[in-house]
């Protein structure tokens, strides 16, 4: 079967494997995965850019305790790096969590995945985590379960995990070398002792790798997350990527370190910087050669409820849930109907995309086209795969790369919407300045509409504003603009000097 478009697979890449230049095609990237795993990934809100807009997932905070310390985490607050709510968030009992999940699932039929990600490490709270899973497997069998862990106690939990309706397990693996690990983890709690330094990292790494192998053996999907910490593990992550793939992880998601002094984390306070967009993209490219990367991860807040970009958490506070009467049997029927509809819609879109990809592949055969330099373009969208967001309202831009090989999705970049930013947002940087900085490296920004004011600064920064493709499909519009640039001779010139730092 053709694997439907995933983010890591260039959307317009040739669909027939290695028949053209783009050898990083879908078949190669997912080639190591069995069919049933590809199917699982296809409609998953966390992995498929398409499904992201149709299905939703939610998290419940039932697991407050942790058994390790990471240098990018401050246990007092929400963790910016692992989309883990902080301990200040309301911790629920397993019973409360189950009730909340069923209430949300009955109200929002698109909710298909329930995750436990914290506030601590779910597997450091095995009773609470597994009680939640046990009840949900029984009462709401149409909800898939997922869990994130640092891996320390994973080997002990694999048998229990295998009993439930587990969709996938996410392990955060930042290193496979204990000397690197010693710079990331100050201590672990292991066999009734606090262990520090290299020894701690060695144990953690061994447990993570063993857990990964055990899950793969049992056919449970494993995703690996890594936090990219410049100067600490950035170069090392290429090796991590190879190893985790060899052991059966189906996705490797490299996330940028987020470290600010005000978070009070070791890295934040000590001035460890996070990677630039360029560094992150470069590393993701290096890893993508041998593995699927999850480009569309937005490090979403783990306790958000609802579809992408919306949070309906306020409808499901504990007292409101208490008051709700849920007929889950009836809800399941309704849910199945909604899911079938969405799947039909997705598969229609998929057919259209495949046809488009084949066309693009044919066009890419031309040697002239293949020699043209790649161009990054930013797109303002509300979702649905079309250009439908006003420049000034965009809180994030999707970045695409157009080249002779076609169009591929690179990632997301967040900003403060220009129209909401007021004069400044924080450090004397205006919202527009921030957007200009975020768009660095892009030569075009596509949006449904753009005001007069930002036009000039954008052009001055070497980014051409373009509102001519409103409501068009993103990949097609990017390809069309690229073609215009080629005809205009702009692709022969080196990248225009960009003035924004």
């Amino acid at each position: 079967m053709e694997l439907p478009v995933l983010n890591a697979a260039p959307p317009a890449a040739p669909s027939g494997g290695c028949t053209s230049h783009a050898c990083g095609s879908t078949d190669d990237q997912m080639g190591h995965l069995p069919e049933h795993i590809r199917q699982k990934v296809y409609n998953h809100p966390c992995y498929s850019e398409q499904a992201h807009h149709y299905f939703a997932r939610m998290h419940v905070a039932v697991a407050p305790a942790c058994n390790i310390q990471c240098n990018y985490c401050n246990r007092k607050y929400d963790c910016a790096n692992e989309s883990r709510p902080g301990v200040v968030s309301e911790v629920m009992s397993p019973d409360q969590a189950v009730k909340k999940v069923m209430a949300v699932a009955a109200t929002i039929p698109q909710m298909t995945v329930l995750g436990i990600a914290g506030p601590g490490d779910p597997l450091a709270n095995p009773e609470r985590t597994f009680e939640t899973f046990r009840q949900l497997s029984e009462k709401a069998p149409d909800i898939k379960l997922c869990v994130s862990t640092n891996g320390l106690t994973l080997p002990d939990c694999v048998d229990e995990l295998a009993k439930h309706n587990i969709d996938h397990v996410t392990i955060t693996i930042n290193c496979v070398d204990p000397d690197v690990g010693a710079k990331i983890y100050p201590w672990i709690f292991w066999k009734n002792r606090r262990i520090r330094g290299r020894e701690a990292a060695e144990i953690l790494i061994a447990q993570q790798q063993m857990g990964l192998e055990m899950l793969s053996e049992r056919g449970i999907l494993v995703k690996v997350n890594s936090v990219m910490i410049p100067g600490v593990n950035d170069a090392h992550l290429v090796e991590v990527s190879k190893i985790v793939k060899a052991k059966g992880a189906f996705l490797h998601n490299v996330m940028p370190l987020i470290a600010e002094a005000e978070h009070g984390t070791y890295y934040g306070v000590m001035g460890q910087r996070g990677p630039t967009h360029e560094e992150l993209q470069q590393l993701q490219d290096q890893c993508a050669g041998d593995m699927n990367m999850m480009r569309h991860c937005r490090q979403c807040r783990a306790d958000a409820v609802g579809l992408l970009g919306e949070d309906r958490g306020q409808e499901f506070t504990l007292d409101k849930i208490e008051a709700m009467e849920i007929d889950y049997a009836a809800a399941m029927v309704k849910r199945a109907e909604v899911h079938a509809q969405i799947e039909q819609e997705l598969s229609l879109k998929q057919q259209a995309r495949t046809a488009q990809a084949e066309l693009a592949a044919l066009q890419a055969q031309s040697p002239l086209a293949a020699s043209a330099r790649p161009v990054l373009m930013a797109v303002a969208t509300k979702g649905g795969g079309v250009i439908n967001e006003h420049f000034g309202h965009a809180a994030e831009f999707l970045i695409y790369e157009a080249s002779g090989h076609g169009v591929r999705f690179i990632g997301h970049r967040k900003t403060t919407p220009y129209c909401e930013g007021g004069d400044t947002c924080g450090d004397g940087e205006s919202a527009l300045d921030q957007t200009l900085r975020v768009l660095k490296g892009c030569e075009v920004v596509l949006c449904s509409k753009i005001g007069y004011e930002p036009w000039q600064p954008l052009e001055a920064a070497g980014i051409a504003p373009n509102g001519e493709h409103a409501m068009e499909a993103i990949e097609e519009a990017v390809a069309a603009v690229y073609e215009e640039m080629r005809v205009a001779g702009k692709l022969d010139l080196p990248v225009a000097e960009q003035k924004v730092a």
Binding site: Q69, K76, V87, V91, G120, P186, A261, Y266
Partner: protein
């Protein structure tokens, strides 16, 4: 002979299940140790269990009121810098 949990405890539950004497209990505004039950883990473990897992420097005190995990001992952030942060309140004002 007993340890004490003080207000910097963030209610993470980590210590509670580890205590060999069930001396730790959930309370408002934070977890507490029942002094009459706490043995400082002597006879059960080489190291006091609550102290070994607690992620918060200064949250657990010994019987004379000295922090068992002093500033800098868990995060590695030098105490001088920590003190400066606390004065400015930087680490306290978070989104």
């Amino acid at each position: 002979m007993a340890f004490e949990i003080i207000e910097s405890c963030v209610n993470c539950y980590a210590c509670e299940p580890l205590c060999p004497n069930q001396a730790i209990y959930q309370a408002q505004p934070h977890f507490l140790i029942a002094a009459e039950k706490c043995t400082e883990c002597i006879g059960d473990y080489m190291e006091a269990q609550c102290v070994s897992i607690c992620p918060i420097e200064g949250a657990i005190l010994d019987e004379v009121g000295v922090p068992l995990n002093p500033p800098g001992s868990l995060t590695g952030i030098p105490p001088e810098i920590l003190a400066g942060l606390d004065r400015q309140g930087t680490a306290a004002v978070l989104p």
